[in-house]
């Protein structure tokens, strides 16, 4: 769970370029840092992607991890969120066996107690969706386990600090393509 002592949530803005995920993953492997989850997706700026990385810091100071991430040329900004007010969400799709009335009722009842909903239900299986803090997702999974989980997928944690904007996104990528006006400017 992200809020327990040995887990830290780190968010990083990276250039949206091929191979950047590989560089980040390679650094974590090389430095022997333990990654719990790593998510990456584009931001509102097409050239910037954002990563949320949950790391086990039992053996490493999170400052080291932040410094090493920041050292990667394609990493624009990094922040450790744990310890600061933040929102974190983990999304899970959980397929459970619902081939009798009992199990269907139990699933419905359990889901009511969580920020979860049944997004697909058939005669044999139901798919439950939950987007919540990681510990809630864990609890839901534990409750559904006795009913019979047949398939499960999680996105990993995404997180965002509360309050003012904390990460620097103010940059525009260099355009390498030479335009006609460039040629004019350089007198070609």
């Amino acid at each position: 769970m992200p809020n327990s002592i040995s887990k830290q949530v780190v968010v990083a803005l990276v250039e949206n370029k091929p191979g950047v995920l590989n560089r980040v993953a390679s650094m974590f492997r090389r430095r022997n840092y333990n990654v719990d989850s790593l998510t990456v997706g584009r931001t509102h700026k097409g050239h910037v992607s954002r990563m949320t990385i949950v790391v086990d810091v039992a053996r490493t100071d999170v400052k080291q991890i932040v410094a090493n991430l920041y050292k990667l040329v394609n990493v624009i900004d990094v922040k450790a969120l744990t310890g600061e007010p933040h929102i974190s969400r983990d999304l899970a799709l959980i397929k459970v066996r619902t081939d009798d009335v009992d199990s269907r009722n139990t699933v419905t009842e359990v889901c009511e107690r969580y920020p979860a909903r049944i997004v697909d239900i058939g005669t044999k299986y139901a798919i439950i969706e939950i987007a919540a803090q990681e510990d809630l997702v864990e609890h839901l999974i534990d409750e559904l386990r006795p009913i019979g989980i047949v398939e499960l997928v999680r996105t990993g944690v995404v997180a965002m600090g509360r309050g003012v904007r904390i990460l620097d996104t103010d940059y525009e990528p260099v355009n390498h393509h030479v335009t006609a006006s460039d040629l004019e400017r350089y007198g070609v």
Partner: protein, 565 residues
Amino acid sequence: MLLSGSEIVMECLLREGVDVIFGYPGGAILPTYDAMTRYPQIHHVLVRHEQGATHMADGYARATGRVGVCIATSGPGATNLVTGLATAMMDSVPIVAITGQVPRAAIGTDAFQETDVTGVTIPVTKHNYLVSDIHELAYCIKEAFFIARTGRPGPVLIDIPKDVQNEKIEFVYPEEEIRLPGYRPPTAANESDVFAARDLINQAKRPIILAGHGIMMSGAVQELRELSERAQIPVTLTLLGKGAMPEDHPLCVGMMGMHGNAASNHAIQEADLIIALGMRFDDRVTGNLKTYAVNAKKIHIDIDPSELNKNVKVDVGIGGDLQTVLKQILPGVEGNTHQEWVNQIRDWQEDSNERDILYNYDGDKLLAAQVINDLWRYTDGEAVTVTDVGQHQMIEAQYYPHRRPATMLTSGGLGTMGFGFPAAIGAKFGRPDEPVWAIVGDGGFQMTMCEMATAMQENVGVKIAIINNGFLGMVRQWQEFFYEERYQSTPMLSPDFCKLAEAFGMPSMRVTERSQIEEAVNFANSYEGPVLIEFVVEKEEVVYPMVPAGADLDKMIRRPKKGEQ
């Protein structure tokens, strides 16, 4: 101007001030080799193995402070660069490696001589590029040189598909400044850290400076000297820090660490303040971290913030450019004498002198320590020495005191055997007017001795001193101390090095007596081109002192004093 990708490469190299590149041609880089014919201003040195090219670029960079350049083809050519890139990465040496890649359409198809070289080299480069758009090529090269030489320097690789080398575009050199959103090496320290560091320095009773490679890379030699002299703070050097302070300076205690000066190691353990400048607390200099300098407050200044608190927890950690930060700190540093402390270190030094093999050896064998010390004497201590890795390297560090920065080049972090000779060739290209000696062991030399042909073809005046003890000496030493003298795979049969030299057309001389050393140096100096001197030395010499791996820094295995044996 309509230029091909390969011509753009050459244009960019020219604009970076490159005048020599080290490399080996092959299919995927052929367009760039063809372009070289139109750029005679850039001299290409044909190596005999691509690893040699990286070490030459590395030696050139270490000797000049400029970016060294090497070039190779795809696949095996590129993978052969890996050891040299890792060597440069560990020692923060700026090199740019250019590799050919199979054409874009063939990438990912396991084409002939295809290797994912950007993937392979991610962990051993500071950054790398696969240039998939010719419009980005010039900018990538400019960025690569910028990244290689700024901040904490390091190797950068540029992989260029063959069809990108062939494609033609209207070329405009990107004159604009490099803009990298995620690359902002720190420069100055903040005020509170400067005050904190200054306070610790002014209050210390037993301070010691640990000076590393960063002193020379940031050009802080003067500032280091000012700090040391004003407050009378003794200076101890890392292996790569040799040259940061003249070793004949009264405040210079010499090297620290596993085979460092015992006085340095004692001083570190007894100090109440450690001022670590441009070094990274490698395990070879700290020994057991749990008992390392426990009495000392610690200030650590390094350009790379990820080095702070990595191995050793410090009281004041400053990520910044060393020269800038020292200039910030210096104005408030008070004069001091630290007389008692300096005397204490002199006593330790005296004890070391009594154990020096140069003064208490009665045998008649030639010793490596004698060879190195005489080389120092007969080169007036002014040669640029480039060592390989092993006993001779440590003996060089102990018996060849250096006065000037960047006069001792060695693979410290990675400990790359085979580095010395090719790196010396590169260094000689960088500093053609200075004597350059490759000091190598019989083992390491044989790893890259194919570059003798390169040295001959280029007539580059490197003097090779092979310290031949018929063993992989340092490994043998560990076997002697820690494996009950079971010398598995360390005795080594070597070719007749002088006959080998003859085969390459290289003048050579074999030295078996100390009295021949001066003559050998004169012999070497009498040729403009490369010369090989083989020194046949005592087989089972041991490098003292030695801190066993993981032991406390002051628990050294010492050479007995005379009469104590």
